[in-house]
Symmetry: C2
Subunit: 353 residues, 2 copies
Amino acid sequence: KQIVLLPGDGIGQEVIESAKQVLEAVTERFHHTFTYHTHDIGGAAIDKHGTPLPEDTVRACQQSDAVLLGAVGGPKWDQNPSHLRPEKGLLGIRKQLGLFANLRPIKGFDQLLHASPLKHEVVAGSDLLIVRELTGGLYFGTPSERRNNGQEVVDTLSYQRHEIERIVDNAFQSARLRRKHLTSVDKANVLESSKVWREVVEEKKADYPDVEVEHLLVDAAAMKLITNPRQFDVIVTENMFGDILSDEASVLTGSLGMLPSASLREDGMGLYEPVHGSAPDIAGQGVANPLATILSTALMLRHSFGLEKEAAVIEEAVQQVLEDGYCTGDLDVKGGKQVGTKEMTRLVLERVT
Amino acid sequence: KQIVLLPGDGIGQEVIESAKQVLEAVTERFHHTFTYHTHDIGGAAIDKHGTPLPEDTVRACQQSDAVLLGAVGGPKWDQNPSHLRPEKGLLGIRKQLGLFANLRPIKGFDQLLHASPLKHEVVAGSDLLIVRELTGGLYFGTPSERRNNGQEVVDTLSYQRHEIERIVDNAFQSARLRRKHLTSVDKANVLESSKVWREVVEEKKADYPDVEVEHLLVDAAAMKLITNPRQFDVIVTENMFGDILSDEASVLTGSLGMLPSASLREDGMGLYEPVHGSAPDIAGQGVANPLATILSTALMLRHSFGLEKEAAVIEEAVQQVLEDGYCTGDLDVKGGKQVGTKEMTRLVLERVT
Ligand SMILES: CC(C)[C@H](C(=O)O)[C@@H](O)C(=O)O
Ligand SMILES: CC(C)[C@H](C(=O)O)[C@@H](O)C(=O)O
């Protein structure tokens, strides 16, 4: 298998190096051969090539079986004009690779739950998956422009029916592998696109009779995520709603530094990345938490390669490291032994081999 | 002053009756003369007139100085075609009256804070105001339609520059009356409309040098509302982001049943309503909590009529009722004496006269 590594900016370099070591150890143990190619994206690519997404990077990703991304962005590029901003690289690669399904599993770790802003009785036992449509909606719709001498501005929320169908199918399939409950989030009392969204979900229901379906307005969803996160299993929603709700959900369990994500193409090819950012303030100090990126490699093994056992080995190792009382500086594990990136990586490696 | 009452559906009738009594008592005490006219909206209007927003209702509101609304909606109309749904009445009246500024103050009551899903140390002391643009953006932008035989659908997020300017001005002025901190929320790394939004805020800053301004992306705002609600004073944002964030914020303090709102026109005319819904499950039982609607009349006195002292009398009376240990069934006041709508109204009346 060909894997492209895109370290990106800030702590990206450190966490990618760490995750690659874990991936190598696990694939070696199970006799798979993975080959790695490193390319530039984001601010690093702007500095070297004058663009956040060099063609060379796109080509390499297109020829690969999976991509592992660190993080992009930093204050250095914050004042750049918008086509020279690191996040354009991220948006570009999603669109060019056709990564339409963003999967964000959110599950608390017992050792971290006390760091949640929510009361223990509210958040304990939460285990949800947000399936966000990633290449449509307001993000890429046209026109997106100023008019009338700058007196007016429009953006366009646009969906092809088949784009809605494929993400809804993906979510139903994910629900099947979990607790068989799907919450479709829309704003059908206002948006025409949400009415179509709701119709598609209603149509697809027939193909998944074993999955229970519920519709929820996005404003109500934003409330219920906080008041009763346990009520959710799989949530499926369009791009912008998914952006907001998945970030909202990411802080519920007190494990922001631990959350992985997958962005998938229809054939299973995917880009995997931690949910956290590039943390420029601690970059290069050897203290970054590599666990979310390591957990992203588990998602890669599962979703792009169907290697469930291998994925589970990584997830159990991470779980075990926390249970054994180790943590990085960003994690608030009570009485935890604080270690750096390299030592944390070694501790995980010890447990996967 | 001419006040239009729009009870609407469910518990709307009961809470409007209650709030009207309080408003009458306070205006009498301070020698103001208010005249009341009741009209139909929402499901009640669909049943009686075949439309959620009769012309007669619009005309009455246009001739009034302020409108007090109960709530609209209920299962009875949930399957109606979209032009015959109660919330169309609400959207219609906002647009027709030009109510561009939605103000949602969110402040915890000490007696209720323990009912918050957030930990006490996270939520205690939160006191924020969300200023939501209410007549632009995705809600009314055109085209909003299906295309290509239903194979495609678009909605349009559209703003006139002056629409952004007036809501930003409103928010700066609100911040001035509070802790002088303004957080402008957008998605400037993706949307052209957000870039314009950010430019307008940057321009307006010069007119309010005493107000500190911060820009926050909507996904980050959704996180910070939960992890650190105290960091916010005034938040200003466009219509859809405001819909989501204000509902998210409304559950933070455990006081959902206590939250009022104001929707204002440029000349100060406004529509006032509780944040909660029509609660069809308890309608007509005499147990509805009238306090959010009563607090909405305080916002009316303050924002439409500049009667600050009168507004404060109502707010203090409500505060006092809670301190004296009274509550309605929806409120979780520890050791509280539970009373019905009429008795709660009487308790407030006792304290405003
Ligand atoms: C950086 C930004 C464009 C991006 C998005 O909005 O999709 C980010 O917030 C995310 O969720 O991955
Ligand atoms: C009923 C609905 C159309 C409305 C909105 O989205 O504006 C409601 O959620 C609100 O916030 O008042």
